[in-house]
Structures are given as structure tokens and as C-alpha cells.
């Protein structure tokens, strides 16, 4: 029984780190994704094409590889002392910002031109049109693809164990070596499942909240 409690406590400790990666990634990748989506829709080519290339590279390579690049790259280049957790955050934020940007782009481009024009003839500024009229409609449209990304992110945090971040999966694997038991790894699934279950409920609630209007 005591080993069960030890494992549970260890996994809970890992869950804290997992949650930290999850929350910080969202906090930074959502606004950054919006900025990147503006860049990818820009009419200015010197902005648009570098951004498009960045999105292609980030979406076209494995997140695990990106983690390794940011985790070990600085050391190879002779830059010492970069915190591993910072490297993890850079990789996650950049990766998710690029995915989010494509979802934002789809949402923004899906809003009918008439909404912008109605705002313009009412004398609204471009920023007012975006924040007061467009954004709310974009949010409603992107909730389903976003909920997918959020759930994927919960599980992707487990990749951080490849560069020695002590999140749930790392803590579960630890017992394979120290105690020669495998079940903590299976048990860790419960924590992911619980986390994703709560997110699913939250998204369901938001969707219901936004159901008062169509369009």
C-alpha cells in the first residue's frame, strides 16, 4: 500500500509540472498565435513569407525534435546555463503558437466581409472592428478545433521528459528503474485522463454559453 501512496504522490508532483507547462504555454502561445496569424495574412511579403516559412518548419518537424534542439542546441553552441525549463517553454510556445495561428487564420478568414463593412460605415476604427465585432465571432467558430489542441497539449507535455523535465511521465518512468515496476506508467494515464476530462467539461460549458447566437 505504501508504494501506491509513494507513486501517487510522485505523480501528483509531476502533475504540477505538467500543469505548469500547460498553463504557461497557453498563456503565451494564444496571444503569440494571434500575432503570427496576422503576420501570415499580411499583404506585406517580407512579413508574410518568413512567417509562413516558420509555420511550415514548426508544423513540419516533430515537437520532440524541437524540444531537443532548444534543450541541447544552446549547449552545443557554447551557450551555457540556459535553464532546461526555459528551453521547454520556448519549444512548446513556438510550436503551439504556430498551430493556434492557423486556427485563428481560418476563423478570421471565415468571417463575412459584410461584418467589417458594417463596422466601417458606422465609423469604427479598425481595432474596434476587430475587438468589438470580429474577435467574439472568431472565438465561437474556433472553439471545437481549439478544444482539440488543448487536449493534445495536455498529452504533449509528456514529451518534456525527453529533456529531463520531471513531469508525470518522467516520474512514472522513474519507478521502472528504481523499483522495477511498470504499473505507475499505466497509472499515469489516469492523471492525463482526469485532466482532459475537466477540460472537456469546461469546453462543453463554454460552447453552451456561446450558443445564444448563431453566425
Amino acid at each position: 500500500m505504501s508504494i501506491f501512496i509513494t507513486v501517487t504522490l510522485s505523480l501528483l508532483e509531476g502533475l504540477l509540472t505538467t500543469f505548469k507547462i500547460f498553463a504557461l504555454t497557453l498563456l503565451m502561445a494564444l496571444p503569440l498565435g494571434l500575432i503570427i496569424s496576422f503576420g501570415s495574412m499580411s499583404k506585406i511579403k517580407v512579413i508574410k513569407w518568413p512567417i509562413k516559412t516558420l509555420i511550415w518548419v514548426i508544423r513540419g518537424t516533430p515537437l520532440m525534435l524541437q524540444l531537443i534542439v532548444f534543450g541541447f542546441g544552446p549547449g552545443l553552441l557554447g551557450i551555457d546555463g540556459m535553464d532546461t525549463f526555459v528551453a521547454v517553454m520556448i519549444a512548446f510556445v513556438l510550436n503551439y503558437a504556430c498551430y493556434f495561428s492557423e486556427i485563428f487564420r481560418g476563423g478570421i478568414e471565415g468571417i463575412p466581409k459584410g461584418q467589417y463593412e458594417a463596422g466601417a460605415v458606422l465609423g469604427l476604427k479598425k481595432s474596434q472592428i476587430f475587438f468589438k465585432i470580429i474577435l467574439m465571432q472568431v472565438v465561437k467558430r474556433i472553439i471545437p478545433p481549439m478544444s482539440n489542441e488543448f487536449l493534445t497539449l495536455v498529452k504533449d507535455t509528456s514529451l518534456a521528459n525527453t529533456i529531463m523535465i520531471y513531469e508525470i511521465t518522467w516520474n512514472a518512468k522513474r519507478f521502472m528503474n528504481s523499483e522495477h515496476i511498470l504499473w505507475p506508467l499505466f497509472y499515469s494515464g489516469v492523471f492525463y485522463l482526469g485532466f482532459c476530462g475537466i477540460l472537456t467539461l469546461i469546453f462543453g460549458y463554454i460552447e453552451k454559453k456561446l450558443d445564444y447566437y448563431k453566425g
Binding site: E117, A118, L122, Q128, K132, I133, G215
Partner: protein, 261 residues
């Protein structure tokens, strides 16, 4: 003084010239209808005057003041375009209400955002907002929607939505209110309620320009009618002159076709 004067307005999209030098003017309180077949440039004319498109050349005067001069080499800034747009109101064919806001919120949105630019906004925020709400409610009552103010666009019929959008345009007290085929997206039984609202506005001396296919309505409500074809104004006169005694063969052909349908 003329409230609106358009001189030689031209606009091309690529190689297609849609407006080939359109001129007209109108007095305060007048109702002007623009008729003509699809592709004659009516909608582009409205969009150019409302700065949704920038004309290639020509001049636009409001109350004698030049707000657009195509000969000027300086491009209008976003702030100038915005200022110009505030002279006018535009009611779209497809309403374009903001779906996430109730009817009342749709009407109040622009006045509330504009009020923030007033110097006394910080001191009198409450009073200003209360006044805006009162005016918005009065406008919605005027278009017959006193009991639907808190409904969202998706809960309203097409005719009701269009009436909200008329109230929304009126909320900024435009000098000229433009209608771009306001009944074309509506079922025939709903057009009557829109036409009633426009007729009521006409009786209150609201200056209006109406692009429409409803010839009988145009004849009834308008002080003047313009017939456009291929990007130019072919007729400009009273309803009797344009509809009953058209000068041009094209006008006669257009009116005849409408009668046949």
C-alpha cells in the same frame, strides 16, 4: 446649399470600368432613388460614396465641403476615411447585423464607442450611456421593434433584422442615409414592412438615397429618380419624368422588362 454633390465619379476594377463619370446632387430632405439593371454600377456608386471602395477620380462634396478629390495626389488617411464615413449611413442588402449582440446592443455599439472620444466622457460616462440607450430604444420603437429589443439577430425575421439595421444606421444621425437594395434579400411578404419604415423616414425629412428594384415604391416615395446604365446616369428627374416619360430607349426597355416580369 446641396447636402450631397457628386462630380464625375469614376471607378474601375482591373480593366472593367464600372463607373464612367457619375454626377448628381441632392438637397437636404430629398429622397432620391437609383434604378437600373444589375451591373449598371448602382451598388459600386453607393460603396464609393461610403468609402467602402475608393473611387479613381471625381469629387464628393457634403454640405459644400469637399471630402474627396480624386485629383489630389494625397491618399486619404484611415482617420479621414473614417471621418468621411460618419457623414453617411448605409443599410446593406444583407443586413450585416452583429450576431453576438442583441438588437439594442447593435444600435448602441457605434454611438457608445464614439462617445469615448468626447472630451467630457470620463466625467459624464453614466449620463452619456443612459442617453445613448434612451435614443436607441426610441429608434427601435420607431421602426416597430419595441418588443424585440433584447432579441438576437438569429431570433428575428429578415424584415425585423433589416429594421434593426436601419435603426443602427440612424443612431449616428447621418446627413444622408443610403440603402443598397434593402428589400432584395427578403421574402416578398416582408418587403412591405421595410418600405413602410422608409416611407415614414421620408415623411420626417430624412435625406435618403435608395438603390432599389421596387419601381412602384420608388415612384411613391422619391422626389427624384436616377436611372443608371453601364456606369453612367442616363436619366435624372422626377418620378413622372423618369418612369412615365423616359427620354432614353434604354430606360424604356428596362421599365418594360420590369413590367413583363
Amino acid at each position: 446649399m446641396k447636402i450631397l454633390e457628386i462630380k464625375n465619379l469614376r471607378k474601375s476594377f482591373g480593366k472593367t470600368e464600372v463607373l464612367k463619370g457619375v454626377s448628381f446632387s441632392m438637397e437636404k430632405g430629398q429622397v432620391l432613388s437609383i434604378i437600373g439593371s444589375s451591373g449598371s454600377g448602382k451598388t459600386t456608386l453607393l460603396r464609393s460614396i461610403n468609402f467602402l471602395e475608393e473611387a479613381d477620380c471625381g469629387e464628393i462634396y457634403v454640405d459644400g465641403k469637399c471630402i474627396y478629390d480624386g485629383a489630389s495626389t494625397k491618399k486619404l488617411t484611415a482617420a479621414q476615411i473614417r471621418e468621411n464615413q460618419l457623414h453617411f449611413g448605409l443599410v446593406f442588402q444583407s443586413f450585416n447585423l452583429f450576431p453576438q449582440y442583441s438588437a439594442l446592443e447593435n444600435v448602441m455599439l457605434a454611438p457608445k464607442l464614439l462617445a469615448k472620444e468626447r472630451p467630457d466622457f470620463k466625467h459624464n460616462k453614466k449620463e452619456i450611456y443612459a442617453q445613448i440607450e434612451e435614443e436607441a430604444k426610441a429608434l427601435l420603437t420607431r421602426v416597430g421593434l419595441a418588443d424585440r429589443m433584447n432579441n438576437y439577430p438569429c431570433e428575428l425575421s429578415g424584415g425585423q433584422q433589416q429594421r434593426v439595421s436601419i435603426a443602427r444606421a440612424l443612431a449616428l444621425n447621418p446627413k444622408v442615409l443610403f440603402f443598397d437594395e434593402p428589400t432584395s434579400a427578403l421574402d416578398p411578404e416582408l418587403t412591405g414592412e421595410i418600405l413602410r419604415v422608409i416611407r415614414d423616414l421620408a415623411s420626417k425629412d430624412v435625406t435618403m438615397v435608395i438603390v432599389t428594384h421596387e419601381i412602384d415604391f420608388a415612384r411613391n416615395v422619391s422626389d427624384r429618380i436616377i436611372f443608371m446604365a453601364d456606369g453612367v446616369v442616363l436619366e435624372d428627374g422626377t418620378p413622372e419624368e423618369v418612369i412615365d416619360n423616359p427620354k432614353c430607349a434604354k430606360t424604356r426597355a428596362f421599365l418594360q422588362k420590369l413590367n413583363e416580369n
